[in-house]
């Protein structure tokens, strides 16, 4: 399951999806929205995606993880639109026979998401808003 959705993400849905009787471990990673960034007090966050390509890239990350580690099943769901502070913006779940693979694959997935998946976060803070991005090492489009 590799999806972008316009609704809150339910971790239980992902856990059920990756559950496998042959697996001895399920690792979950939940990325949540933070109320501060680089000294700014963040009041709201909004995510936008190129949905067709984002889902394709998420699936590519899953396929790459399956080549690197002995995992059973993987699910990645990223939320779009406005996300309240403290809510989940992304959830990853991985099942595997042994725990090392599940931990490693979930770590790999979140790092890859931040590099290549066409999803963008706009941060609204006290006094302005900014599109966050790492390709220049600093915030872009400061208004």
């Amino acid at each position: 399951m590799f999806r972008v959705v316009n609704r809150p993400i339910d971790v239980n849905e992902l856990v059920r999806y990756v559950a496998d009787p042959e697996a001895g471990a399920i690792a979950t990673f939940i990325g949540t929205t933070r109320n501060n960034n680089e000294g700014r007090k963040v009041t709201a966050l909004e995510y936008e995606a190129y949905p067709e390509m984002a889902e394709k890239e998420l699936a590519r990350i899953g396929a790459d993880a399956a080549k690197k580690w002995q995992i059973s099943r993987m699910a990645i769901v990223h939320r779009l639109g406005p996300v309240q502070i403290g809510e989940a913006s992304v959830i990853i779940a991985v099942s595997s026979a042994h725990r090392e693979a599940a931990f490693a694959a979930s770590r790999f997935a979140i790092e890859e998401i931040k590099k290549t998946v066409p999803i963008w976060k706009k941060e609204v803070f006290e006094g302005g808003e900014v599109w966050i991005g790492t390709q220049t090492g600093q915030p872009l489009g400061m208004k």
């Binding site: 990325g31 995510y47 936008e48 995606a49 190129y50 067709e52 390509m53 984002a54 394709k56 990223h78 913006s89 992304v90 979140i110 998401i113 931040k114 590099k115 290549t116 998946v117 066409p118 999803i119 963008w120 976060k121 706009k122 599109w131 966050i132 991005g133 790492t134 390709q135 220049t136 600093q138 872009l140 489009g141």
Partner: protein, 81 residues
């Protein structure tokens, strides 16, 4: 050739639209299209921005040769997670 261009995030805001159909000469590359768009939408020139380029949902290089009906996205710095 007709090319569908989609804009997202900061480039969508700078272009003032999320999508445009563009006519380009045969043999045009992604770089040629980007120059054409920049003259049409001066706001796309964001100082210091580093873009990735996607044609039909795959990352390509600037010298990629476009085909009729391709869908092109200039990908601003991603920030999912």
């Amino acid at each position: 050739m007709k090319i569908r261009v989609k804009f997202f995030a900061i480039l969508r805001e700078r272009a003032g639209t999320s999508e445009a159909m563009k006519e380009v000469a045969a043999g045009s590359t992604v770089a040629d299209l980007w120059r054409q768009l920049q003259s049409e939408y001066p706001g796309l020139d964001v100082p210091g921005i580093r873009l990735l380029y996607a044609v039909n949902q795959n990352y390509v290089g600037l010298d990629y040769k476009l085909n009729d009906k391709d869908e092109v996205v200039f990908v601003p710095p991603v920030s999912g997670g």
